[in-house]
């Protein structure tokens, strides 16, 4: 079972230009969502979903043009299924442009399952085996 999300995209722009699209709220709104983001560690901000619910965030790391991460939580006031997670962006200068690497991970719900020895992966692998065996 997959526990985290990873995507790599390539752009012909420089890391500085791509960085703008990750950190300037006006540009972020064009492809992601409206927000009151500021590239300051510890800054609390929110993305506004199209249905007027919020993603509640806090900036964790800012290394201009190379790395950005923030806490990504749902609005606990409106959902009975709270979760917290981390969104992390890494920009690498490559020939002809920029590699943008996204990791969305640290989902609390999965971390909880690894408290006990054996862990989540063991559980999932075992499940796959069990299901194969019953076929």
């Amino acid at each position: 079972m997959q526990k985290e999300i990873k995507h790599t995209f390539y752009f012909s722009q420089t890391p500085e230009e791509v960085w703008e699209y990750l950190t300037n709220p006006e540009l972020m709104a064009q492809w992601l969502m409206p927000s009151d983001f500021k590239p300051l560690v510890g800054h609390h901000f929110r993305f506004t979903n199209p249905n007027n619910t919020f993603v509640v965030c806090e900036v964790l790391e800012v290394k201009p043009f190379t790395h950005l991460s923030y806490v990504w939580k749902n609005d606990w006031a409106v959902t009975k299924t709270p979760y917290t997670s981390k969104v992390s962006w890494t920009l690498t200068s490559i020939e002809g442009g920029t590699e943008l690497f996204l990791v969305h991970s640290g989902f609390e719900v999965f971390k909880n399952l690894t408290d006990h020895n054996g862990g989540w992966m063991f559980l999932c692998n075992k499940l796959v085996e069990l299901l194969k065996a019953t076929k």
Partner: protein
């Protein structure tokens, strides 16, 4: 006892239920043998089992006088759906960014 309906996240939020899933991942067990590992009343164990069963994390088969619990995929699917949702979300957003930047480069 009223059968509680909890979603997959609420189901695994409880340490005892996580422990039960972990134990069942090693082997299928009877409710009695599961209960032996927990310092709680039988009704309390039964309640947890009922919740795991209700959310599709386990199946229960009666063999003779014993009730055997086994892991089941259904409950885990909801957790996977949650990840899949965000996977699709980011892919859609990043493609949008790609379009914007590609147009800008022209």
């Amino acid at each position: 006892m009223r059968t509680q309906t909890l979603d997959a996240f609420q189901v695994i939020a409880d340490p005892s239920r996580r422990q039960m899933l972990m134990m069942l991942s090693k082997e299928s067990m009877t409710i009695n043998s599961l209960a032996d590992n927990f310092d709680m009343s039988r009704p309390a164990v039964s309640k947890h089992i009922k919740i795991l069963y209700g959310a599709g994390f386990i199946s229960i088969t009666d063999i003779g006088r014993e009730r055997h619990c086994m892991l089941k995929q259904e409950g885990f699917n909801e957790l996977q759906n949650f990840i899949n949702f965000f996977d699709k979300f980011w892919l859609t957003k990043l493609r949008k960014l790609e379009t914007i930047l590609n147009n800008k480069a022209k």
